[in-house]
Amino acid sequence: MSRSTLSRKEKEKVIRRLLIQAPPGEFVNAFDDLCLLIRDEKLMHHQGECAGHQHCQKYSVPLSIDGNAVLLSHHNVVGDYRFFDYQSKLSFKFDLLQNQLKDIQSHGIIRNETEYLRTVVLCALKLYVNDHYPKGNCNVLRKTVKSKEFLIACIEDHSYETADYWNGLWKSKWIFQVNPFLTQVTGRIFVQAHYFRCVNLHVEISKDLKESLEVVNQAQLALSFARLVEEQENKFQTSLLEELQELSNEALRRILRRDLPVTRTHIDWQRILSDLNLVMYPKLGYVIYSRSVLCNWII
C-alpha cells in the first residue's frame, strides 16, 4: 500500500472489512481500536452501524425484550437496519455499540395455525435448551416462501470476556417446512471461539445436517422436533470432542512436526560439527561444497 491517503470509499471498504471480521463478543473492542487509528467520527459511526448490523445477524446476538429472549438473525430483518420480534410484536433498530434498542415501533403479526405451532415449538425448545446450555437462549421464527410455511429455530449460547481469557459462541439453526405426515429438517451448528492467553488462537467449527421428522399433531411435532435437535447436537458434540482428542495424539506429530526426531533423542550436534570439519576451509572464511557431499550426512 502506498503512503498516499486512501479515498473515502477505499477507507470505508477497509473499515467494514476489518469490523466484519471481529470475533463474537469483540465488536466493540475492534471498533474502539479502529477509532483510534481513523479519527473520523462520522465515517466510523456510519460504518459501525452497517458492520454492527451484520455482526448481530452473523452471531445471533441475543436481546431481552419483556423478559423474553430475541435472537437477531437475517430471518427477522425488516429493512433499513431494523429487526422484528414475534413475541412482543415490535420492530426496532439495535445499536450494538451502545447496547440499546432504538426506534421501537409496533409490528403486526398474522395469527394463524403456524403462529400457534410456533409458540408450541418454542416452549418445547426452551425446555431442551435449559437442559443442555448453561446460559442458552432460543427463538423460533416463521417464514412464508411461495405459500409454504417454514419454522426456523435458533439456539445460542455464548461466553464473552470470561476470566479464562476466551470468547466463545455456539449457534445452531434448524429449519423445517410445516407439512403433514413427514417433513425434512435441515440444521447447521456453528461454534466460534477466540482464546488469547499466552497464545492467539481462533477456532471455527461448522456442521450441516439433514433429518426427517414424522408429523402427527402439533404437540407431538414440537416434542419430537426438540428431541431430534437434542440427539443431533449431542452426536455432533461427542464426535467433535473425540476428534479433538484424536488430533492431539496425531496431528502435530504425524502431519507437521514430531515431538522428537526419528532417532527418539535430541539432535547430536557434535556429530554434525565433526562432519562439518571435513568440508570446511577455516582460513579462507567461506566454504564451497557440493550437494552430493551435503546429502551424505544429513541425519
Binding site: L127, G168, L201, Q218, I272, I298
Partner: protein, 254 residues
Amino acid sequence: MVTWPPRACSSTAQERLPPPRPGECRPCSFRRRGEPSPLSVCYTSHTLPDPSFESSVKPGEVESAAGIGRRARVRGSSDADSSQDSSYFEGGVSSVYLWDLDHGFAGVILIKKAGDGSKKIKGCWDSIHVVEVQEKSSGRTAHYKLTSTVMLWLQTNKSGSGTMNLGGSLTRQMEKDETVSDCSPHIANIGRLVEDMENKIRSTLNEIYFGKTKDIVNGLRSVDVIPDNPKFLQLQRELSQVLTQRQIHIQPDN
C-alpha cells in the same frame, strides 16, 4: 483481532508465497537483494571477508554451518536423492540468514512445513527464530537472545465433526549464556536453543489448540443434562399451558 489463518500467516513476505521449488531459497525481508541463496553452492557473508579480520567466529563458517545445520534438521525439497528421513520435519523447507552486529552477530531461521494434504487434515507450521549473539570480550562465552514465533493452522473435514478450522500464533523469548569452544561452537549452541524452544512451543500449542478448544466447547454446551436447573418446572408449566389452549390438528395443504 486476527484475520483467518492462511492470511494471518503473512506477517513476513515469506509466508505469502507458495512453497519454493527444489533448490530455491525463500525470499523474505531478512535477505538483502543480490545475496546468493544460502542453499546454493556458495555461502558468503554480506561483505567479503577481510583476511586480517579475526574473531572467535569466522563469518563464513557460521553461515555455512548454520545453513548446513538447519538442513540437518529439515529436509529441503531439493534433497530428492537423499533416502533418509529428516529429524523433526518430513519434507519441510527452511532458510537461514545471518548478519554482523557490532559485538557479535544476529540471524534468523525460518522453517515452513505444510501438511501433505492427502488426508482429511490440512495444516501448516511456520516458525521464525530470531537469534542475537553478543560475544563477550574474552571470546570464551557468548550471550544468546532468542525470539521465536510459531504460526500454526489446521483444517479438518470429518463427517461427525464437520469442518474445523484452528489457527493461531505463539511468541516466546529466552536468553542464555553459553560457553563457546571447539566442541561447543555457536552453531551447536544456537541449534540447541532453537531445538529446545521449538519443542516447548510445540507442546504448548498441542495442549492449547486441542485441550483448550475442548474446554471451550464443554463450557458452551453440555452433552449430559444439566441437573437441577431451576427454570425447568416453570418451562414445563408454560408448555402445558400453551398446549391446553387449543387442540386443533394441522390441515393438509390443498
